[in-house]
């Protein structure tokens, strides 16, 4: 799926880090569930909804998680960021972002070699609040 997205569809937001399912840079949502696109056959996702980082914003308005990553400087080089953000959206939607320990545990599949982890936790907490407010409106 990752190669299809990047090489054929020109959606280069999902990144190829390790290509072995170990780094999380290629994370996308399939029917709302986070998956590693490097370890997924595109054909196996036939008829399902695949959301990449390109599909997260609502027109010109950033998704709360994207905005939170900017607000908290939750990246340095930015290479892992699309995967971090997709994973973080999944993490919040699963209800696994209720405290710092949970966020760290359930985001542990996404590596950041710049070690922006503390800021990523802060970003997820901010976005969690915004997403919860939005979902109750």
């Amino acid at each position: 799926m990752l190669d299809l997205l990047r090489e054929r569809l020109g959606l280069t937001g999902a990144k190829k880090g390790c290509d072995h399912g170990q780094c999380g840079a290629c994370t996308v949502l399939v029917d709302g569930r986070r998956v590693l696109s490097c370890m997924t056959l595109a054909v196996a996702a036939q008829g399902r909804n695949v959301t990449t980082i390109e599909g997260l914003a609502n027109g010109g308005e950033l998704h709360p998680m994207q905005q939170a990553f900017i607000d908290h400087d939750a990246f340095q080089c930015g290479y892992c960021t699309p995967g971090q953000i997709m994973s973080a959206v999944g993490c919040v939607n699963e209800g696994h972002a209720e405290n710092d320990a949970d966020i760290r545990e359930y985001m542990s599949g996404n590596l950041c070699r710049c070690a922006a982890y503390p800021n990523i936790v802060d970003a997820v907490k901010q976005a969690r609040s915004v997403m919860k407010t939005a979902s109750t409106q």
Partner: protein
């Protein structure tokens, strides 16, 4: 990755039949088939050219046929072969009765 044929089995009988129709054996002279479940190992080894199946049979639809079920009762815990590790780790009953498994 080498070219391969992809098939999707809707039930266990169909999965067995699909493999049988390809003459699945360990002989190198007949086409090789592999079942695809989570894919963590198979797809990785296919990309590394270690596993070279001619046909991949996706058995994930079997999860809906009971193979993705977690059963927890007084006799113990039974995990269907297609239960996702994340689902097992997040199962409230497993977390309380089998914390090491959840971990």
């Amino acid at each position: 990755m080498r070219r391969f044929t992809y098939q999707r089995a809707q039930g266990p009988a169909e999965a067995v039949q699909m493999a049988a129709s390809h003459g699945a054996t360990n002989s190198p002279s007949v086409p090789s088939i592999e079942y695809l479940a989570g894919g963590t190992t198979l797809l990785d080894l296919m990309k590394l050219d270690v596993r070279r199946p001619d046909t991949v049979i996706d058995i994930n639809p079997l999860a809906a046929a009971g193979y993705g079920r977690i059963e927890l009762n007084q006799h113990g815990l039974r995990l269907g072969a297609l239960v996702r590790m994340a689902d097992a780790a997040d199962h409230s009953g497993i977390k309380s009765a089998y914390p090491v498994v959840a971990q």
